[in-house]
Amino acid sequence: MKEKLTWEEIEKRYWHQWVQLVDFDWPDTEPWPLTAVVRVHSPDKREFNRLAAKDRPNSTARLYVDGIAPLYRISDEEAQAILHGSR
């Protein structure tokens, strides 16, 4: 069984690679999963798609590890602080 990793560990091991995640803990208040199991990975998208499709589990997440954060939810208080320049 593959180990559960923190996002920091995933970034360190799989930087600039595609990863398919299973068993992930990813609140919508976080740009990245807190923890996840990397099922398959590859720097090449075509190869990654091939690996990811094989014996695919029912629920997975896929992403490219490049540090570019997708939209994530913040509180109204945080939004106000950003708008008014205190963050």
Binding site: A53, N58, T60, R62, I68, A69, P70, L83
Partner: protein, 131 residues
């Protein structure tokens, strides 16, 4: 109200979407793209979810200023969830992204979805507010 943060220095705004097909579900990374008339998903991902041309809902043709019209088709996802909204029986374009150089994404979140939102974008601050 939903407040969302994005990186104001990045070239693109990226959004996660949960897509569900006949066999499986997948969380994918899409470009928030008001210039794309339709939401497009990489054909390889849709194939892995169990879709094929047999599931075609309608024929599509995409025109591009730098190349020929790209012929493809649409399929209907069981559910499509992005930016806090879930749409059932949602039609998306089945598009081959393999030749696109900037291919660290899985598709485009298009105007057909974005137009449903009442939103306000503050680019310099990296804030998207959905009402």
């Amino acid at each position: 109200m939903l407040s969302l943060r994005f990186d104001p220095d990045a070239d693109l705004i990226l959004a996660h979407a949960d897509i569900k097909g006949p066999n499986n579900s997948e969380q994918v990374r899409l470009v928030f793209d008001t210039g794309a008339s339709r939401t497009e998903i990489d054909s390889e991902i849709l194939t892995a979810l169990g879709f094929s041309e047999v599931d075609k809902v309608s024929d599509l043709g995409f025109e591009c200023v730098t190349g020929p019209t790209h012929e493809t088709f649409s399929v209907e996802l069981d559910t499509f969830t992005a930016l806090g909204r879930t749409c059932r029986n949602y039609e998306v374009a089945f598009v081959d992204f393999s030749k696109w150089k900037k291919d660290q994404i899985d598709g485009l979140l298009g105007w057909d979805f974005i137009r449903r939102l009442h939103y306000e974008q503050n680019g310099p601050k990296g804030l998207l507010t959905i009402y």
